[in-house]
């Protein structure tokens, strides 16, 4: 039912945790809804145009946890534009997600986009 990669991320998730959301160099994306059975929080820390750290917390099934864990791994070291180019199809393929779990990878892509958007918003002086 689950691919080895999903099981591995589930058992040994990478980058679980929180970054300081007050820190101006941190962008936070929260997507999903509890009543839909999944909520992903993904945070990025950006220095010199590059993502230097990423953390996640996810409420959801094993595939949702694996998708967010993978997303944090992949964005690290990337520029914001590179991170924005990660698609749900890339995530679904890497994790061999079955069709009923594609929405988990969609959520991970959305979480990356939301975190980048939040970071960009925070760079604008108000």
């Amino acid at each position: 039912m689950y691919s080895d990669k999903v099981i591995d991320h589930y058992n040994n998730p990478k980058n679980v945790g929180n970054l300081d959301k007050e820190d101006l160099s941190v962008g936070t994306g929260i997507v999903g809804a509890p009543e839909c059975g999944d909520v992903m929080k993904l945070q990025l820390k950006v220095e010199g145009g590059k993502i230097v750290d990423a953390k996640f917390k996810t409420f959801g099934c094993g595939s949702a946890i694996a998708s967010s864990s993978l997303a944090t791994e992949w964005v690290k070291g990337k520029t914001l534009d590179e991170a924005m180019s990660i698609t749900n199809a890339d995530i679904a393929e890497e994790l061999s997600l079955p069709p009923v779990k594609i929405h988990c990878s969609v959520l991970a892509e959305d979480a990356i986009k939301a975190a980048v958007a939040d970071y960009k918003k925070r760079q604008q002086p108000n």
Partner: protein, 403 residues
Amino acid sequence: MKPIYLDYSATTPVDPRVLSKMLPYFGELFGNAASKNHSFGWAAEQAVDEAREAVAALIGAQAKEIVFTSGATESDNLALLGVAEMYAEKGKHIITCVTEHKAILDPAHYLATKGFEVTFLPVDKTGSLDLQALEAAITPQTILISLMAANNEIGTIHPLKEIGAMAKKHDVLFHTDATQATGKIPLDVEAMGIDLMSLSAHKMYGPKGVGALYVRRRKPRVRLAPILHGGGHERGMRSGTLNVPGIVGFGEACRIAQLEMAEEAERLISLRDRLQKGLESQLDFVFLNGHPQNRLPGNLNLSFAYVEGESLMMGMENIAVSSGSACTSASLEPSYVLRALGVSEDLAHCSIRFSLGRFTTEEEIDLAIQKTVETVRRLREMSPLYDMAKEGIDISSIKWTSH
């Protein structure tokens, strides 16, 4: 670690005593119970008769009132469709409930497309019925009330005796789907005023693919239109060569249940309470689904808030349980039973049904507690909702981006 089975409401293993009773009927005693002219047939018929006695005895019925079927799904369909067709001239109204099994709900919806009116009664937050609402729903057109004995997800037990009395008072037939209750709690068709009852062997340590419908023969004599037409077996109500080994196993399962039910219930309640206390004493934000007292001995349905059910089951590897989480169903909708209780969707996604049975040991319960606590803690460390809960943020106050 040897897998631990805590999903007895889904199905049960065949009791070894049942299996050994069945085996000869796959071998030398292979006869067709309908063969009236030779000893092969007689032996099969005698075995079926004995099984029929045992099934009837467990529910206080007469042997002649037992119609063997392929299981509770067929029994439920036969009860609803058979009564609907036979009594349509009397009236076209049927009463049932939103928490019934699909084997009741789907034939009921089907009848609704064929000109019947069906009332689906609501339940309260424990899964219990309002008897006044039931009585108020009865009209002169009502021909059948179908309400389950005990619910398969939450274990809540309906007051059969009161429902039976009400049905009698209004001259309406009463069917109960007793699939989860037979052999677990005492049932008596006479004392409870039950006219039709669905049973299934595989939920009570018998084989899969065999069940029965109890059909009252006196006061009143219930008539049914068959759904399977053919050789006229089972008094014309269910044609088809009898599944002799299965029926023999079902009979033996009923005989054992009758002997051991009281003691077994006591043992299961104590194990179930041990499980519940063990989990609730070590974890916060744990909620019971169903009725705190009025439920099946082996059932424990809990929501572990902020942890999604499927991911919890994935972590509880080697412990077989069920979840009302959407992720475990093709529909992506969480359990309709929990929703009917008013359990919020987020908590419905967090539900786990533990169902204990005859072969559950205290050691298994302790391992299950340990593994569940460990997994819930680990997943809560990963859950953004648990962080919010600890910070005192009400997650229902947040505007979520649903997808």
